[in-house]
Amino acid sequence: MMDMTLLSIVLAVSMLLMLAMGIWVALALTGVAVLGLMLSGNDQIGLLFATSSWGASTSWSLTALPLFIWMGEVLFRTRLSEDLFKGLSPWLSGLPGKLLHVNVLSCGIFAAVSGSSAATAATIGRMTLPELKAQGYSERMAVGTLAGSGTLGLLIPPSIILIVYGVAAEVSIGRLFIAGALPGLLLMVLFMGYTMVWALLNRDELPSNTSDRVPFIVKLKALKQLLPIVALIGFVLGSIYGGLTTPTEAAALGVFGSLFLALVTGSLDRESFLGSLLGAVKSSCMIGLILVGAHFLTLAMGFLGIPGALAQWIGDMALSPVVLLMSLTLLFVVLGCFLDGISVVVLTVAVVLPMVQQANIDLLWFGIYIVLVVEMSQITPPVGFNLFVIQALTGKDILYVARAALPFFLLILFAIVLISWFPEIVTYLPTTMSQR
C-alpha cells in the first residue's frame, strides 16, 4: 500500500507540474501514463499507446460527440440562437436573472437528445455564450451556468455513462434512464434557484434596461421565434421515441436537421458550411486527442491498479453505508480530478459494486449516484471535459472556468445529499414502471 500511495502522489504531482508548465492537456495525460508505465517496468509502452488510441478513437458510441459539436457550429451560423433569445426573453423577464436561465433550460432540453456532457455544453454554449455576452450578462455566471448545466447531458436520458454503468452492474438500462429523469429536474431546479438568488444579490452584474412587465400577447408572439428550434429538437426527439433512430444515431439527424434549417433560413452557403466544418474539427480534434490521452492513462491506471487499490482500501474498512457513501464520494471526486468520469467508473466498478451490494445499497439508486459524482468530475480541474469545451469556446483558462463552476459543483454535491436522504427521488419512477 505504501509504495502505491507514493506512486499515486508522484503521478499526481507530475501531472500538475506538466499542466502548470503549459504542456497541452492531452500530452500531459499521455506523459503521465508513460511515466506510470515506466515506473511499473512495462516494456510495451509504445505498442500499448497505439492499440489503446485505436480502440479509443474508433468507438461507435463516441461518434455522437463530434456530430453534436458540428451541429452547434451550424446553428451558431444561423439566426437561430438570436431567435432563441428573442423567443425566451419575454418569458424569462419576470424571473430574477432573466436570460441567465437560458443555459440551464436549453441544456436541460438538449440533454434529452444528447448522451454526453461535453456535447451538451459545446452545442448549447456555441449558441448562448456569445449572445449572453453581447447582452451584457456577467461572463463568469454565463460560463458557470453552462459548465454546470452541461452535465445534465449525463443525467437526463439518454446517457453514455448510465449505459456503461448498466452494462457493468447488470442493471436495466431502461430503468436507469427513467430513474435519471427526476434527479435531472431536481438539478435544474437547484441551478435555477441558485441563479435567482445570485441575481438578486448581484444586480449590478446584470443588464438593467428591460422592464419587468411583459404583456401576455407579446409572450405569445415571441413563441413564434422559438418555432424553428423547437421543431428541430422535436424532430430529433420524435425520431428517437418514434422508433426511427437509436439515441446514438440521433446526432446525425441533429446535424442533418440543422443544415436543413440553415438552408431554408438562407444562412447556409459554401463559406458558412466549410466554416462550420473547420470549427467542428477544431473542437472535436481537441476533445478527441484528450480522450485518447485519457484512455491511455486509464489503461496505465489499470496496469498499476491504483484506483482499484484505493477503492479496496475503503472497502476493507467495513464502514456503515452512510460513511461508505461519504468515503466513496470523496474518492470519486479526487480520482475525478485526474481521470475522466467514465474512466473512474470503469476502473473501480469491479471493486466498488460488491462493497455496495454488501452494504445493501440499491444498485439502481447507486447508478444515479455515480452519475452525479461523474457530473462533478466534469467540472473539477485539471481534468474536466466541460472545462475543456468551455475553454475552447471562450478562450477562458480552465482554472477560471472551474472557479465559475464551483457553485454548481457544490449544488450537485447537495443533490447527492438530497437523493441519499430521499431515495424515492430516484426510485419512484422506475417502480411505477415495473408495476405495469
Partner: protein
C-alpha cells in the same frame, strides 16, 4: 513556402472535416436503411474508422490553430525571457513524446498489414487500411510541432500562441 505550409494545415482540417461528413452520411444511411428494410453493412465499423480519421487527420490543423488546450494562466504571467524558455521546453517535450508515439502508431499499422488482421464485423476489412489515417495524422502533428519549434528557436511567436493570445484579448 510559407503559404504552402498554411495550405497543408488547412488540408489537414478539411480532411478531418470530410471524415465528419462521412460519419453523418453513414449514420443517415443506416437510419434510412432501417426504414426501407436494408442493412448498411459494417456501418458501425465504418463510422468508427471515420471517427478515428476525423480525430487524427485534424490534429495538425488544430495544433496550428491553437485548438489544443492547455493551462495558460500561469505561463502568461512569465517574463518574455522565461516564456521563451518555457515554450522551447514544452515544444521539445511534445516533440519527443509525439515522435515516440508516432513511431509506434506506424509500427502498429505495419503489424496489422503483416498479420493480415481483419475487422470482425460484417465486412472483413483489412484493418491496416483504416489505421493509416491514424499514423498519418500523428506524423502531421509531429511536423506541426517541429514547425513551431523551429519558429520559437528563430525567435518568432508560433502560430498556436498567436491564436491563444487573440482569443484572450478578445475576451478580456
Amino acid at each position: 513556402m510559407h503559404s504552402l505550409r498554411e495550405k497543408l494545415y488547412l488540408a489537414s482540417g478539411y480532411l478531418a472535416g470530410f471524415c465528419l461528413v462521412v460519419i453523418m452520411l453513414i449514420i443517415l444511411a443506416q437510419i434510412v436503411g432501417r426504414l426501407f428494410g436494408f442493412i448498411v453493412p459494417s456501418a458501425e465499423d465504418f463510422s468508427g474508422y471515420a471517427l478515428a480519421g476525423a480525430t487524427f487527420l485534424g490534429l495538425a490543423y488544430t495544433f496550428h490553430e491553437g485548438g489544443h488546450i492547455r493551462v495558460t494562466l500561469l505561463i502568461q504571467r512569465c517574463s518574455s525571457r522565461v516564456r521563451f524558455l518555457q515554450e522551447l521546453l514544452v515544444l521539445l517535450f511534445a516533440l519527443v513524446l509525439v515522435s515516440y508515439m508516432t513511431w509506434h502508431c506506424i509500427y502498429m499499422v505495419w503489424e496489422s498489414y503483416v498479420f493480415e488482421e481483419v475487422s470482425y464485423g460484417y465486412i472483413p476489412v483489412p484493418i491496416w487500411i483504416p489505421q493509416v489515417p491514424l499514423a498519418l495524422g500523428m506524423l502531421a502533428l509531429n511536423l506541426a510541432i517541429l514547425d513551431s519549434l523551429v519558429c520559437v528557436v528563430k525567435g518568432r511567436v508560433p502560430a498556436y500562441q498567436t491564436h491563444e493570445n487573440e482569443l484572450n484579448l478578445e475576451e478580456v
